[in-house]
């Protein structure tokens, strides 16, 4: 569905002009048009008050063109849409009223012989002052005084109508948000609104995670949506891979009149572009999905050939729908985060308390063994010792889990505390001694940066536990001369960083996170010589506020 309003009755473009004008009337009309006079007077003078009334009142713009596509007549509505009075329009080229890039398309829609009637098509009128107006145009050919003329009718798609359409679409989108649909269903619904209400061929909404990789998506109008989605995820296309990705990340809308050619030539995008081969598209519009300054993803519009750019009204409409999509996604994330908080609370209330109680009972058992003069090295004694160890380990694991489930945990407790918890849990589980050293004072880092640092160090520690097979590891944070340096080193097996298996160690994710926060990541390792991961980023400790209790 590329044009037309599905909700409106499009039969009979204009009842008064549904059939060709009589030759006599046409001749009269034509003769009168050179004079400066009102269309009402013109038609009234012709003794056709009924027609005059229709022409004057019709909110559709009605124009008559001669065989050379020059205006010979325009009713008041058409004059208003075109931004010029009828005497100025007279003799002007009809095509000059359209954007240059749309003129060929418009020409293709004009009737060439009597009896030709074109289906309504969307286009944009450009006034003499450059003002744009999105209209739906239909045309048919008539014979006037023996020569072929054309009646072109414009129906306004901006202004009140567009506002009504936006309101209707918003109401529907909002209703969908409230409804029980999954986020994906809501995104599909929003995409569908966008395709139905504008000239777009297809619309796809892609939502990304912290690493800018796709997490969920929804689209409408694609010829093979599952394959397109698969192609997108297979290359793990990120926002920065898109042409104009930097502008998107900065929160700006990107219009690419030749996106198709650019994509087919791009190694990252070619696979996705290939799934759109059979689709009529050429240009693209990307509107960022933003919430509180965060980029959640992108609202991608695929425009048909002949429509390289959207009209202002279309762009506004896409922006509104992209905002709706952002709300839907934020809603879903909030729900997920509330659910995680609830889970954290439950785990804390049940499992953690039970495990703490267990460590107490185990110690009680050990003390009563002493009192009963039972051998602590007996099978009973060592089993109890083992239980104590397991309970302590499980408790440490729980603390990390609960910490990671609580969205604000890092902000509340700080990076060093978080890293110590992580180290304790891994130490208990993997029997690796993990030391965490760093400044005891809180670090002046944005929460986003702390989050990335935490994840990078966690990943490095997990690598050590999984691959290094060493006895110990050290995490060290130091800040000096405006640089915060985080090192994670182990005395384990090491590896050859050139050997190409680096991807399996999560190193690319670590590198991406580092890049996101503007940090340098280096990895020093050699077989048998342990591994040191070093992360450096510019850092300036601000003075602590005096209200901080000193």
């Amino acid at each position: 569905m590329r044009c037309g309003y599905p909700r409106e009755d499009r039969t009979g473009v204009s009842p008064a002009l549904g059939s060709p004008l009589s030759a006599e009337l046409s001749a009269e009309l034509s003769a009168e048009l050179s004079a400066e006079s009102s269309p009402l007077a013109d038609a009234a003078a012709l003794g056709l008050p009924a027609l005059a009334e229709v022409l004057a009142r019709d909110e559709d713009g009605i124009t008559v063109l001669d065989a050379g596509r020059r205006y010979v007549y325009a009713n008041p509505a058409a004059c208003q849409m075109l931004g010029q009075p009828v005497w100025q329009l007279h003799g002007l080229d009809f095509l000059a009223s359209f954007r240059r890039q749309e003129q060929a398309t418009v020409l293709g829609h004009l009737p060439t012989k009597l009896g030709d009637t074109t289906a309504p098509f969307a286009c944009v009128l450009v006034g003499p002052d450059g003002a744009e107006r999105e209209v739906e145009c239909s045309a048919f050919a008539i014979d006037m005084a023996g020569s072929l003329h054309c009646v072109a009718i414009f129906r306004d798609r901006t202004g009140d109508r567009a506002a009504a359409r936006t309101a209707a679409a918003l109401a529907q989108a909002t209703a969908q948000l409230v409804g029980a649909g999954t986020t994906e269903e809501i995104l599909v619904g929003i995409s569908r609104h966008a395709v139905d209400g504008t000239r777009a061929t297809a619309v796809g909404i892609v939502v990304v995670d912290d690493d800018h990789k796709l997490t969920i998506s929804g689209g409408y109008g694609f010829i093979d949506a599952p394959r397109s989605r698969q192609a997108w995820t297979a290359r793990s296309i990120g926002l920065t891979d898109l042409p104009g990705g930097d502008a998107l990340l900065a929160g700006r809308t990107v219009v690419l009149p030749n996106a198709r050619a650019a994509w087919e030539a791009s190694p990252v995008m070619a696979g996705f572009a290939a799934t759109l081969t059979g689709m009529d598209w050429q240009g693209a519009v990307y509107v960022p999905l933003s919430w509180e300054g965060q980029r959640l993803g992108v609202f991608g519009v695929y425009l048909p050939s002949g429509v390289p750019e959207p009209s202002e009204a279309e762009l506004a409409f896409y922006t509104v729908l992209a905002d709706q999509a952002a709300v839907a996604v934020t809603n879903a994330r909030l729900a997920a985060s509330l659910e995680r908080s609830r889970l954290a609370r439950e785990l804390h209330d049940s499992v953690s308390q039970a495990l703490f109680s267990m460590t107490m009972h185990v110690r009680a058992a050990q003390l009563s063994m002493v009192k009963a003069e039972l051998d602590q090295t007996s099978p009973l004694g060592s089993s109890i010792a083992q239980l104590a160890e397991l309970a302590r380990g499980a408790l440490a694991e729980m603390r990390v889990l609960i910490f990671e489930l609580r969205p604000d945990a890092l902000a509340e407790e700080g990076l060093m505390t978080a890293l110590r918890k992580q180290g304790d849990a891994l130490a208990a589980r993997e029997q690796v001694a993990i030391t965490v050293e760093g400044p005891e004072q809180g670090l002046d880092l944005a929460v986003g940066v702390e989050e990335h640092l935490y994840r990078i160090v966690s990943e490095a520690l997990h690598n050590i536990a999984k691959h290094a097979r060493g006895a110990g590891a050290t995490v060290r944070l130091t800040s000096d001369a405006g640089i915060l340096r985080v090192t994670v080193s182990d005395d384990g097996a090491g590896f050859d960083p050139e050997a190409g298996h680096a991807g399996h160690l999560g190193l690319s994710t670590m590198a991406e996170r580092a890049a996101t926060i503007g940090a340098d990541l280096t990895i020093d390792s050699a077989p048998g010589a342990g591994t040191t991961v070093t992360l450096s980023l510019p850092y300036h400790q601000r003075g602590r506020p005096a209200s901080d209790g000193r």
């Binding site: 209330d349 953690s352 308390q353 109680s357 107490m360 110690r363 005891e440 209790g549 000193r550």
Partner: protein
């Protein structure tokens, strides 16, 4: 401990029954400590402690969870310390946020333990509280040290007398105890403490005590 020494009387407050049972089972095996009662929230704790008072049954130490329905642990701590100054409170909780720790200490808690402490740490904290010392979980101590990082105001801006007073504060002495020890009036003791707080740019005795511990100013 001597045969005639009385066991330390402990009262447990926690909304998790399994935690009370675990701690009680452990303390049962510790000779110098006995559990004399327990409660599931702050209100119940106040009621039960009050009910035991007439028979001379006040606890020496209350082991207090902080996050509980009804009257929370911090309010309960404040009320206990106001009503029965001889009763020490040790917080035993899962949370190590700085604000919680501060509130608990300012409400008068003599210790702060996390619920991943070793069992023996719990007994140790109880004994420390009775001895007038403060026992803090390692992580909690780090957190406080951070928040108390004073501007570099060397201890030598304090007069010798003030250093003596600070050492007593660090050992948990009240103004009256300071007055008795130094043979001055209670008002003078209070003036010294105020002067110390002003010089060190601190707001509470607890902070002063922590500062003293960190700076090694604990013996006069």
């Amino acid at each position: 401990m001597g045969a005639d020494a009385r066991a330390i009387r402990v009262f447990l407050v926690d909304d998790h029954r399994i935690v009370r049972s675990g701690v009680a089972a452990y303390l049962e095996q510790v000779d110098d400590i006995e559990v004399i009662g327990e409660a599931g929230d702050g209100r119940q704790a106040l009621d039960r402690i009050a009910a035991g008072e007439p028979g001379g049954g006040l606890p020496d130490v209350v082991l207090m969870d902080l996050l509980m329905p009804g009257l929370d642990g911090i309010s309960a701590t404040r009320q206990i310390r106001t009503r029965w100054p001889s009763v020490e409170v040790v917080a035993l909780t899962s949370f190590a946020e700085e604000a919680k720790v501060r509130s608990a200490l300012e409400a008068g808690a003599a210790g702060y333990l996390l619920k991943d402490a070793d069992a023996d740490d719990v007994a140790q904290a109880i004994r420390a509280a009775v001895a007038g010392q403060m026992h803090l979980d390692d992580g909690v101590a780090r957190l406080l040290a951070d928040s108390l990082r004073a501007p570099r105001r060397p201890a030598d801006t304090l007069t010798p007398r003030e250093r003596e007073v600070l050492a007593l504060v660090a050992r948990g002495a009240s103004n009256r105890q300071i007055a008795e020890t130094l043979v001055v009036s209670e008002r003078t003791a209070r003036t010294h403490v105020s002067a110390i707080l002003a010089k060190l740019d601190l707001v509470s005795r607890t902070q002063a005590a922590l500062w003293a511990v960190r700076e090694g100013n604990t013996s006069a």
